[in-house]
Symmetry: C2
Subunit: 242 residues, 2 copies
């Protein structure tokens, strides 16, 4: 058996991170998927992550748990409701209330710990600077600063045994590009969840019906429409278009 | 009541972080202490942290939980035993097995999330570059890179409402200096725990007898001896000197 280099891939179970996992696999990495249960309302995405990791042949899948509700400050973890919109033009130009303070920094830090132990020189994260140019922790300059810090943070980095690279294959892609890429790589988007506020399906734990009205649903639906592909997800009250 | 600026202080319950909390208080910050239950064998330190936070008047104390045993790679969280030594000369010149991969990066990332929400511009961490010059995530260049990344990571940083500073008041101090400073600020070192392998005291949860033989005990005892002060902690079989 060939000896592939290992990579840690952050996997939320959404469209972007699932495509990222497929890209890492295509680049001949042995993938080690990392998912977080952090107190998100849409915990259903963890079940999606499990299915995606299994389907895309991740060598290992760790689900790390902590509770960001202790700190608050986001509609995804706190009492603020997830905003519902009618069309993509309503998506906030600033930073939306669904932003979770320092979330990517926390996620990357756990990925760094795992990368040091595996060892792996490569971490993949599906951030995208197009959809929300306002998300501070999705910008290229942030990722670059993180990578620089990470290379000073670890034993292996200091000893020169490891040169850590943070891969952001989606950073400049539109949602439609991401979907086309994923379909080309065999990603089954019916396994993913993008919705911030899915309705659980009775008697089917881990299943959810997407709301079709949150930022994430609107961006996803717009991406599928632009790519000319039907979104295989179930949406509430016929909200899925295309 | 005066309106003090808020600061997040990382507090393990050990000698260094307890002194750091006292320094932040002396600098007129309203202190928000942050402790982690991360799967460390010496979990007893969390009880020390509680007592120190209460005694030093922290405005708030959060204990965040996650399990670094999922990733392994350290004697503090895994099956490797904590090394026992006879004298300080035996302390490893390289990076010891008690190093926990990416631990400070993870800790600082939770502090960053809390700082963004409070909001606070200031984070205190009791790292020290003297004792273990080999610890990668205790070096000034690491802290500087972290601060730079942190200022690109947050909403408040991007909007120019926050300029995050990471304070490392102990970074150039010897253990004896730290102890003298803490005593001057009224730190009660009998409340702290430094030992990596304390023996629990029966019928007194959260109490432990220090081993006197791990790296952390040896450095602590050496510091007290050099400062000419008796360490108020209980040590196994009369191992406490001074």
């Amino acid at each position: 058996m060939e000896n592939k280099p290992k990579a840690v891939v952050l996997l939320s179970g959404g469209l972007d991170s699932s495509t990222t996992l497929a890209i890492a696999r295509q680049q001949e990495f042995e993938t080690h998927a990392l998912t977080f249960r952090y107190g998100q309302k849409h915990e259903i995405e963890i079940e999606s992550a499990r299915r995606v990791a299994a389907r895309l042949g991740a060598a290992q899948h760790i689900i790390a748990e902590f509770d960001l509700r202790q700190f608050g400050g986001s509609a995804l973890t706190g009492d603020i409701p997830v905003p519902k919109l009618r069309n993509p033009e309503e998506i906030s130009r600033g930073i939306p209330v669904t932003y979770v303070p320092a979330r990517n920094t926390i996620f990357l830090s756990f990925a760094l710990a795992w990368a040091e132990v595996l060892p792996a020189n490569d971490i993949f994260i599906g951030v995208n600077a197009i959809d929300y140019s306002g998300y501070p922790d999705c910008r290229p300059e942030y990722i670059e600063a993180y990578q620089k810090m990470a290379n000073l943070a670890t034993k292996a980095g200091v000893e020169g045994r490891q040169r850590l690279l943070i891969h952001t294959p989606l950073i400049r892609m539109t949602k439609a590009d991401i979907i086309r890429t994923g379909i080309g790589l065999g990603v089954d988007y019916s396994l993913t969840n993008s919705c911030y506020d899915p309705t659980p399906v009775e008697d089917s734990p881990g299943e959810g019906i997407a709301c079709g009205e949150c930022d994430a649903c609107l961006l996803r639906l717009m991406g599928f429409a632009e790519a000319g592909v039907k979104d295989p997800l179930r949406y509430r009250e016929g909200r899925g278009r295309g």
